[in-house]
């Protein structure tokens, strides 16, 4: 199941499913700095509703895209982090009077049927705490698990693309990351997670080889959540 490569390697393969794009990136974290090296990258446009709204409609084709990336770069056994975005997931920001809330106080639709989680984001101007809440149905989660199982992926996590953006944001600022600054940036960009991450910092934190220089310039919005997924897994490595 786990191959020799997983025994020694710290490489992470990030896969993001958005409404019309399937993106895979092979990232290698630097041991000395906060830099990440983009070893390989693949972006597939899903214009036939293969994963529309986050639902998997064509697992065979998606599996082929993923397996071809893994086979091309010989990444069998690498750690994989999966990011999902779409209407199938419930995502939102809620404000609670306390920064340490009781999970029972958090209102999530279909709470019993869904797998849900929350993370503290920033303090509000009114003294409330803003929390990011997301949930996914058990059936959809099973679809992604089956997809990963079929492709023999060494799956470490399934998270949301929004949370990957937050991790990329935190990584971009490094030690200078502050929750209050995150709050300001989110409010400035109308809580659009994909807009908060500064592109210039990401470019500095990502070491890209020549074949993928074009992607860094023109597909940064796709690369950023992939970097965020890799960053979120770095702690567990």
């Amino acid at each position: 199941m786990w191959q020799k490569k997983a025994y020694q390697s710290n490489d992470i393969v990030s896969i993001s499913f958005t409404a019309d794009i399937l993106a895979c990136a092979w990232l290698r974290p630097s041991t000395k700095s906060l830099m990440y090296e983009l070893k390989a990258y693949k972006r597939v446009c899903l214009n036939r509703f293969e994963a529309a709204g986050g639902y998997i409609h064509n697992p065979t084709l998606l599996g082929q895209h993923i397996s071809s990336f893994f086979e091309k770069h010989k990444l069998e056994g690498s750690y994989v982090s999966l990011g999902i975005q779409g209407t199938a997931l419930h995502e939102g920001i809620i404000y609670l009077p306390t920064g340490n809330p009781d999970p029972c106080d958090i209102i999530v639709p279909k709470k019993q049927q869904h797998v849900w989680m929350y993370r503290y984001l920033y303090p509000d101007e009114n003294g409330h705490a803003a929390f990011y809440v997301c949930s996914i149905s058990q059936s959809l989660l099973l679809q992604y698990k089956l997809l990963a199982f079929r492709q023999r992926l060494n799956l470490l996590s399934i998270t949301t693309v929004s949370m990957a953006y937050v991790h990329a944001y935190a990584h971009a600022y490094g030690n200078a990351f502050r929750h209050s600054q995150l709050g300001q940036d989110l409010e400035r960009h109308h809580h659009q997670f994909n807009a908060i991450v500064p592109g210039d910092i990401i470019r500095r934190r990502l070491k890209v080889s020549a074949p993928y220089a074009y992607a860094l310039e023109h597909e940064l919005s796709t690369l950023t959540p992939l970097l965020g997924l890799a960053v979120s897994e770095r702690e567990s490595l």
């Binding site: 750690y79 989680m117 993370r119 698990k145 799956l155 470490l156 998270t159 949370m163 935190a170």
Partner: protein
């Protein structure tokens, strides 16, 4: 910031620990197996050596045992033959036809005429003729008193006529058949 993860999986550290544990276990099992095989090979070699040594020594042992058995049999046969010989010697000593004949010859003198002697094993059947009955009785008593003779049985007595060619005179004679056991 803590990550959000919808699934519970083995962390990379756990995977690495599991892999190390697995590889170590496999290695230890292999070492154990190799050690066991080596020990078994040594034991098998010892067994084979002893077995072939035993196989080589078995024919010698068997031949020796066979010789011993044959020797014992021969000894038994020799013993039996010796016993037989002894008994035969004893028999020869106790029963000698020439002695008997010579004794008979000495016994049947004078008026006693020995007609026939039939020697069979330890029994002698003889027929004789006497002129008078007292001679016959004396002979029987003499025979009974003889050291070699165990029993004297007179099977029958009859009177016969004996004629003399020179004088043309017919004289009556007693003819007795006796069975003597020696």
């Amino acid at each position: 910031m803590k990550k959000i993860n919808f699934i519970k999986t083995l962390s990379p550290k756990d995977q690495q620990a599991f892999l190390i544990w697995y590889e170590l276990s496999v290695m230890l099992v292999c070492i154990l197996l190799v050690g066991m095989v080596v020990c078994q090979i040594v034991q098998c070699y010892t067994f084979a050596r002893v077995y072939f040594q035993y196989r080589r020594s078995v024919p010698i042992h068997l031949s020796q045992q066979e010789l011993y058995t044959k020797a014992k049999e021969y000894e038994q046969k020799k013993h039996l033959v010796q016993k037989r010989l002894e008994s035969l010697y004893l028999q020869k000593e106790s029963f000698d036809s020439s002695t008997i004949l010579s004794s008979c010859n000495t016994l049947f003198q004078g008026n006693r005429v020995l007609q026939s002697v039939l020697v069979h094993d330890a029994q002698v059947t003889c027929s004789l003729q006497c002129a008078e009955s007292k001679d016959m009785i004396a002979l029987i008593n003499t025979l009974k008193a003889h050291e070699l003779c165990k029993s004297v049985v007179v099977s029958h007595i009859k009177t016969v006529q004996a004629s003399s060619k020179s004088k043309n005179v017919i004289t009556p004679l007693l003819e007795a058949t006796m069975v003597l056991t020696f």
